[in-house]
Symmetry: C2
Subunit: 475 residues, 2 copies
């Protein structure tokens, strides 16, 4: 199976070739754990979870590494402002480690609900300070970073001629960019911090060759990806908002330190908009997963996200979700019936030919869509076709067809991370339960009007045995 | 409210006096994440969760710190053998960090199921190597540790005159103890490792003033507790199997480095036996939570654990659990009915007098039992009394009494971490459903044998309307 990936580095689709046969090393930028997870997290991590799942379905052994940023991400997203973790810890009046742990826990709680597989390794930035310090030392040795009197260490952007190759920005254009801070001790405004001196009440701080301080935001990803995936690895993922300065800076740091290409494929997911506008805390349209999951099944949200290609934005509105919900509910109902009627029997579709042209086409189209840069909207269209065929097969009780359909459903679940389990069945049972009781009561009324007291009393006794209260009304 | 704690240091019950008014700092030894969590974990962490919950109910702000041992815990539990994480990582053929993360994730997954609150801070040993190195340096400076040619650092047990004060062991007795390793480069066999030189394929290793290596098992707890709770803190918890050498060694390390008492109250939970004998992997009676929770509701297991005082062993057998299950199910049914009938109304029992002598006594006894070294079996006895009164109040529909009972139930849930929610209702509905269908089918058979085809056919049509397949057998 050939898998095509749109590589942000080359700006085109390329065939995926792993460094080690049968293995994929992927690194995806994790959350900064200073607040509740929101819809933006859901989109990014569902997108990359599907990438991972599809590689696994294709037979690869995937090592998926994700960082937890629990220090060094400054309010200004670049080198200015305070550490996001510290600011929030002061607000909540707790230890910054407690704050980070709380939001890391929340993050995974909601990612679990979205059926996102846990990373192979989830690495906290604070857990790897010695590695980070060694990494910075290497960059200094190579002459690409300088230490200032204030105890800061900056990367010399001008010395790395390729700087900005991912975002395609030229350094001279950056000056006007909003994400560049102009610190007193920088040689050039574009230079970014590898290590920041701990001033004021900075609680998370460590000794270093340059004094007491803490790492910059970008360096943790260069350090952690190398530690767990090597100097050059297969895939680096993240949101498009991370392309500059974060990923451009990672590339610069890693290629200087290692003298090798950083990553073979860079993948970027697009972001979430709300009713067509950017989602943001300051814009008042910020949707936390906590709020969202009170209203909607997390897997419906996952389903909604997958309606859009990962490189396209997801536009969110309650209206849009409600519309998709109907489709989704039918799908779930249909497919859970298939599971039931097929007795959940499955055949391996990789090793068995599908003796049904329509179903064979659906399966092949699904795999093709996913192989073509993880085109989930196209893949989803096939899932809807499958649902139609499922309805027919259910109606006509075509047992062999149902087993094939069930096998495709299993693939869809594995790859897209959906679960077609009808929770409604339970509540339907409840309804049926009361409807059956109504029917029985109805029967008894009729029997008694026919003066068939023997059978009527027999039913009453049976109901009492079952713990059902029987109130005989005079007729 | 006065709370009495059995202090393992003084071997008697003492009134708890916090270091900082209104605050409790507690540290509980966390798991070594190299295998699936088992019943022993459940007992220990349920026990300390209840301690924490009761302090919180009593109005304390509790900072509960727990470590995750992801390096340094050797197979021999002392200084011999390989690192448990590494051995298992080799077996599973994965990165040791991936192994540790996998089992840490499993650990919390099952602890969550047991309704154990997450620690305020969960700290991985590998995340604090610089702190550990500084701690060891301090001990060396104070003259209580020595560096060997092989690059190991050992604590000089003989120099710390109080060594063994917790376990009440004399050093001369230890030599014959099973947990003492006799390494070539130790001055005395009793000395224990603070830092081990990394030899062979040790992947988790760090630079240190003594060469490349990794920390010993005991030092992480001294380092992490000081980092988050200070040089002297309120409560240190753990299993009795940790008293020696782990906690004795922690005390020695911390009191040498800080020149202050380590901990005011040491609490130790007793262990799990299975059918009266010790539980152990080698004994073949090892019960993982994964297996256990396939058979039993995790909260039933929690309920079972709380039948025993934390300082007593929990003897486990399927028979014993089954016996308790009946009692537990009744309690849940009863209390969930109280919730329903009282419309979940609650009064604050701390600020309101209970106008019902029997209930007032139950509440006071419950609180007294918990204040007396967290005597959960006594507290549970009060819960059973409460259940009886609940039955009466439900029968007689005493709405005010039901509100008081509901308020006590809420306290019980908060303090013991139980949840009296009747999930059974759903599954019972399912059973009833099929039983009702059986009854209807039975009725139809009788009707047809009576040649009452009109009513029989009426029922058939109604069933078809409800979506129930009706297969008429020839009679």
């Amino acid at each position: 199976m050939q898998i095509f990936i749109y590589n942000s580095l080359s700006r085109k689709k390329e065939i995926f070739k792993p460094i080690q046969e049968g293995r994929v090393g992927m690194y995806v930028c994790g959350p900064t754990v200073y607040g509740p997870p929101h819809l933006g997290h859901a989109k990014s991590y569902v997108n990359f979870d599907v990438v991972r799942r599809f590689f696994e379905y294709a037979g690869y052994n995937v090592k998926y590494v994700q960082n937890i940023t629990d220090v060094g991400h400054l309010v200004g997203d670049s080198d200015d402002g305070q550490d996001k973790i510290l600011v929030q810890a002061q607000k909540e009046n707790v230890d910054p480690y407690a704050l980070a742990y709380k939001y890391e826990t929340e993050y995974f709680y909601f990612m679990d609900k979205l059926n996102i597989k846990r990373p192979t390794i989830s690495a906290r930035a604070t857990g790897f300070i010695p590695d980070i310090i060694e990494f910075i030392q290497k960059i200094i040795e190579k002459g690409y970073a300088y230490v200032t009197k204030q105890g800061n260490v900056y990367f010399s952007v001008h010395k790395f001629s390729d700087y900005g190759k991912l975002s395609n920005r030229k350094i001279e254009n950056n000056l006007s960019g909003e994400r560049i801070s102009v610190a007193d001790d920088k040689e050039y405004p574009e230079d970014f911090a590898l290590w920041k001196s701990a001033v004021g009440g900075h609680i998370m701080k460590w000794n270093s060759p340059w004094g007491v301080g803490y790492p910059g935001w970008h360096i943790e990803c260069s350090t952690l990806s190398r530690k767990f995936l090597g100097e050059t690895f297969d895939i680096h993922g993240g949101g498009i908002d991370n392309i500059f300065p974060h990923h451009d800076s990672e590339i610069a740091q890693s290629e200087v330190a290692n003298g090798k290409p950083f990553v073979n494929y860079f993948m970027h997911n697009n972001l979430v908009t709300v009713n067509g506008t950017k989602m943001g805390k300051s814009l008042g349209n910020f949707i936390t997963l906590n709020d969202l999951f009170e209203k909607f099944d997390p897997l419906l949200i996952r389903y909604y996200i997958l309606q859009f290609h990962y490189r396209k934005p997801v536009d969110f509105s309650f209206n849009a979700i409600s519309k998709v919900k109907e489709q989704y509910d039918k799908l779930v109902e249909n497919f859970s019936q298939v599971k039931e009627k097929s007795l959940n029997k499955i055949i391996n579709l990789k090793s068995n030919k599908i003796n049904n042209d329509e179903l064979s086409e659906i399966y092949n189209n699904f795999i093709s869509a996913m192989s073509d840069d993880f085109n989930t909207p196209l893949a989803m269209a096939e899932v809807l076709k499958l649902s139609k065929l499922a309805s027919n097969a259910l109606k006509n009780n075509e047992s062999e067809t149902l087993i094939i359909i069930n096998s495709i459903i299993k693939v869809v679940e594995d790859v897209l991370g959906l679960e077609f389990v009808c929770d409604k069945i339970k509540s339907e049972n409840k309804t049926k339960d009361s409807e059956l009781l109504n029917l029985i009561s109805d029967i008894r009324t009729k029997l008694r009007s026919e003066k068939n007291y023997q059978l009527s009393d027999y039913i009453r006794d049976k109901l009492i045995e079952l713990g059902v209260d029987v109130l005989d009304k005079k007729i």
